[in-house]
């Protein structure tokens, strides 16, 4: 197969820049289904849901990130992933993920009991994100 042209990819969260570099291909969990991006992709803006973001590096290596909900932008051959949280699946921290899960479930319970108003979608996304981390942590251990 012919070499693919690399393009620049950044994955940033409010806490840190998780990834900043070149990639051959990027697959993100779009709200309406996975979105795969190669170099010279048309300008795009999309909503992301919790899921797996896969970055294919030049040379065949692959980085998999469990990402929370957020936004995705491709502009002038630059892809930008803005998400709440992103964790490399090889470095998931079960304690942190469990804490996230419990917190999100408690929030959902409060929401269902009508105690607080809130955005149900967000909370469900949080639960999914925590579960994704826990599931991927199981594989690597």
């Amino acid at each position: 197969m012919a070499e693919r042209t690399p393009f620049s990819v950044s994955v940033v969260t409010p806490e840190r820049a998780v990834f900043d570099g070149e990639a051959e291909m990027l697959v993100v969990p779009g709200e309406a289904g996975e979105i795969g991006v190669l170099a010279r992709h048309v300008a795009l803006e999309a909503l992301l849901e919790s899921g797996l973001t896969r970055i294919h590096l030049p040379g065949g290596e692959k980085i998999e990130l469990a990402t929370g909900p957020g936004f995705f932008e491709v502009h002038a051959s630059r892809a930008l992933v803005l998400v709440d949280d992103a964790v490399d699946v090889r470095e998931t921290d079960p304690t942190r993920a469990t804490a996230q899960l419990e917190e999100a479930r408690a929030e959902l319970a409060r929401l269902e009991s009508g105690e607080v108003e809130g955005d149900r979608w967000r909370i469900e996304q949080k639960i999914r994100h925590a579960e994704n981390q826990l599931a991927s942590g199981g594989h690597s251990r």
Binding site: V12, P14, G30, F71, L82
Partner: protein, 294 residues
């Protein structure tokens, strides 16, 4: 004059205070460094978020029907001072609260009702002491705020605004200048300032050929999601600034306390030496006088 024993005891007590303040100074310095790194680390996210909002809003042209953008007559204002969970940080907590009370006074003079929300145990106890009705208090994370906490707060504020329970939300917090300079600022975070959508420096960046952008789903829906995210980001930034300010203020306060303790120890040591010398001289005089009398 106090006896040597008394002075010794005082020196010991001041010295142990000195050890505590010195340790707190070092701990705060380390935490300050970490907080500053976090402010820097969140900058790319915040900048990109703003760009995204601006470009989406520009594509959309006219924005309407978004509850968080609705401007209305102000009857009730929610005040949210960001304070720390602990004291011993110089004027850090006091100056935020003082400004908040001034604001409350001014608003009430205009016939506007004030609703109190607060972050940090210090602020909460101070408001309770002054018999203010607290709508919501968030505590337990002032020195190391997480994004999830900012989200929860932003959510509550958005609900408060959208439901009409409050027509504006004012944030009062310490903006971080340096370890010794923290300035109290007030920021109206709701309704969202219009300039956010127009881009801060209009015309400064060449409008990209936005017509060819693919949106998934349509830009209206994306903007609807972006705006709460922007609110969360702004709150998180304010929390981080406040945390860095808290550590900075505590570090300077503790440095001053340590310096004062050192001076006090020097002074007390001098007094003690003098007292000891006086006692020795006295004793010699007595011995000599006794020998002369023989």
């Amino acid at each position: 004059m106090a006896s040597q024993q008394d002075i010794k005891r005082r020196i010991r007590s001041v010295r142990s205070t000195y050890k505590i303040t010195k340790a707190m100074e070092l701990v705060s310095a380390a935490k300050l460094r970490r907080s500053q790194q976090r402010i820097v680390a969140m900058r790319p996210y915040a900048d990109r978020m703003l760009e995204l909002i601006t470009s989406t809003a520009q594509t959309l042209g006219k924005i309407h029907g978004l509850p968080l953008l609705e401007d209305r007559e102000t009857h009730t204002v929610a005040l949210l001072p960001l304070t720390g969970d602990r004291g011993l940080a110089g004027a850090f907590n006091a100056q935020v609260l003082r400004r908040s009370f001034v604001l409350e006074h001014d608003l009430q003079a205009q016939g506007i009702e004030v609703k109190w929300l607060v972050s940090g145990k210090r602020g909460r106890s101070s408001l309770k002491f002054r018999k203010r009705d607290i709508d919501t208090a968030w505590t337990g994370f002032s020195d190391q705020p997480e994004f999830a906490e900012a989200q929860a707060m932003a959510h509550h504020l958005a609900a408060l605004y959208a439901s009409g329970a409050s027509d504006a939300v004012l944030l009062v917090y310490n903006r971080f200048g340096s370890a010794v300079v923290q300035t109290v600022v007030e920021q109206e975070i709701l309704p969202l300032p219009r300039q956010v959508l127009k881009g801060f420096e209009e015309g400064s960046m060449p409008a990209p050929a936005r017509g060819e952008v693919l949106y998934e789903p349509d830009p209206g829906l994306i903007l609807e999601r972006l705006i709460p995210a922007y609110l969360e980001t702004e709150l998180f930034r304010a929390l981080l600034e406040s945390a860095a300010s808290e550590h900075g203020a505590r570090m300077s306060a503790m440095r001053n306390a340590s310096r004062n303790a050192e001076e006090l120890i020097d002074l007390l040591t001098l007094i003690m030496n003098r007292a000891r010398q006086a006692a020795i001289t006295q004793e010699i005089l007595e011995v000599v006088a006794g020998a002369d009398a023989l």
